[in-house]
């Protein structure tokens, strides 16, 4: 098969490895991780634009290297060729190899911040996306000193605690090692971050098999939603996470 993959850059190492091992011919476009930080409708528009470019009969299917990503993928539609979307809330499902494993881990470890090679290598966003980010426009990106200058010390302390650290209830970094990393640099980085913040550190073994199945064309309905031409992704509050609905928009 000839496939077009549109993926978040957070998976670039995983996708490249899986493409090398896939029997299929895969063209790939990576989009910036920073899309997650801008308003949902803007993320949808930007992904749709790239989907439209790849929505071409020279391909047998479009693959999306994404989870639902806070509804950033909701409403994404295909017109001409089938589109394959992982049944996943976010990238952690793809890194851990199944939505069930992710859910089990999530339920047992509240307050975990995940790291992987892609999360570390793409930590900072472009200036353009940073300016558009919700954190920036709502004042959450301010430094403590900026807040002091603007609102005085007492207010700054309060605002910094309330607004500028969405992870203040978190207590652990979990590093997902996929087994494709060149060395232990990403693990070391995560350990350092954990010790800086006084958080627990855990390393878990990732599982490339779900990503590999996507690229190999093994699209079981329990893992992947295959959208027929002329349909769009719709979030669904059940174990399947997403469903397909006819038409381009509501």
């Amino acid at each position: 098969m000839r496939l077009k993959l549109i993926s978040c850059e957070v998976f670039s190492r995983e996708m490249e490895t899986a493409i090398d091992r896939s029997p299929n011919e895969v063209d790939v476009d990576y989009l910036p991780k920073g899309l997650h930080e801008i308003p949902c409708s803007q993320m949808q528009d930007r992904i749709q634009e790239v989907v439209d470019q790849g929505d071409d009969s020279k391909y047998d299917a479009l693959l999306l290297g994404y989870g639902l990503c806070s509804n950033g993928l909701a409403g994404i539609h295909t017109r001409n060729i089938p589109m394959v979307m992982p049944r996943a809330h976010d990238c952690i499902t793809l890194l851990l190899g199944s939505k069930e494993r992710y859910l089990d881990y999530f339920n047992e470890h509240p307050g975990v911040y995940f790291k992987s090679s892609g999360w570390i290598e793409n930590e900072s966003s472009s200036d353009e996306l940073s300016q558009l980010s919700i954190a920036q426009t709502s004042g959450m990106n301010s430094s403590y000193n900026e807040l002091v200058d603007k609102y005085g010390e007492d207010n700054a302390k309060f605002l910094y605690r309330e607004l500028c650290d969405f992870t203040h209830n978190y207590g652990q970094f979990t590093y997902i090692e996929m087994g494709i990393e060149p060395d232990d640099r990403f693990e070391k980085h995560t350990r350092e971050k954990a010790s800086e913040r006084g958080w627990k550190f855990e390393k878990v073994k990732g599982d490339l098999s779900m990503i590999q199945r996507m690229l190999n064309g093994i699209w079981d309905d329990s893992e992947f939603l295959v959208l027929p031409p002329g349909s769009r992704i719709e979030p669904k509050c059940d174990a399947g996470i997403i469903t397909s609905t006819e038409g381009e928009s509501q």
């Binding site: 509804n71 004042g139 509050c237």
Partner: protein, 230 residues
């Protein structure tokens, strides 16, 4: 010759005019997020003859409504909204015991909670603050709240409105299970359930049987007021 009546009136009016001026400053203190001034004016007003409820309905709530309007019109942003809410909250802490003493009730009693599995609270705290500013008594249950705890609190505290928050699509199903627990406990009819959070939509709210949804903290106040017929 001086008119004795006029003299008496003027003499009596002076402290009233001063009091009104001071209370206008309470409104201003909330608007500008000046927590220290808001508290000291409230303290002074309560030590005098000022009716505690009028402090809320004539000064604090209008100030929060105005800052909410400015926020919606992008004339101010989240930090300003939070600072105003904080100033208002400081004043409310002084007023609330007095309201309780005199048996005066606020618009309604609201539970605010981030659902089980979710530890994010910036949005939830903002909603709690503006609801308090909007004239509600708020019970903030924190984050990662078990559905059973919500049910218990509804029963114990005679709650009218339940506001559920989630930041992750992963934890949105916990909103559904919270509503199911409220139904199973037989208290669904007692409460209006509102949901919100970045990935939450009106469609989702309808799907899980919530009564209301807002895409912003300020909007949540309007939805909550509507729910209690205010």
């Amino acid at each position: 010759m001086q008119n004795p009546d006029k003299f008496t009136k003027e003499k009596n009016l002076t402290p009233i005019i001063l009091a009104m001026k001071d209370l206008k400053e309470l409104y201003e203190a909330v608007i500008t997020g000046d927590a220290v001034t808001a508290r000291s004016i409230t303290e002074e007003a309560l030590s005098g003859e000022t009716d505690p409820l009028s402090l809320v309905s004539e000064h604090l709530t209008p100030a929060m409504d105005e800052i909410g309007r400015r926020f919606e019109a992008s004339e101010c942003f989240v930090p300003e909204l939070l600072l105003s809410a904080r100033a208002m909250k400081g004043a409310m802490e002084l007023i609330q015991p007095r309201l309780l003493e005199s048996g005066v009730e606020l618009l309604g009693r609201v539970i605010v909670a981030t659902v089980k599995g979710d530890l994010h609270d910036i949005g939830k705290n903002l909603v709690a603050a503006v609801l308090e500013g909007g004239g509600f008594e708020v019970i903030d249950m924190g984050v990662n709240v078990e559905p059973e705890k919500i049910v218990e609190t509804i029963k114990e505290k005679d709650v009218q409105i339940v506001v559920l928050s989630a930041l992750l699509t992963t934890t949105m199903p916990a909103m559904k299970t919270s509503i199911e627990a409220i139904e199973a406990a037989g208290v669904r009819d007692k409460v209006t359930i509102l949901v919100g959070g970045a990935p939450v939509t009106q469609r989702f709210a309808d799907e899980i049987g919530a009564d209301g949804y807002s895409d912003s903290a300020v909007g949540a106040v309007a939805v909550a007021r509507k729910a209690v017929g205010a």
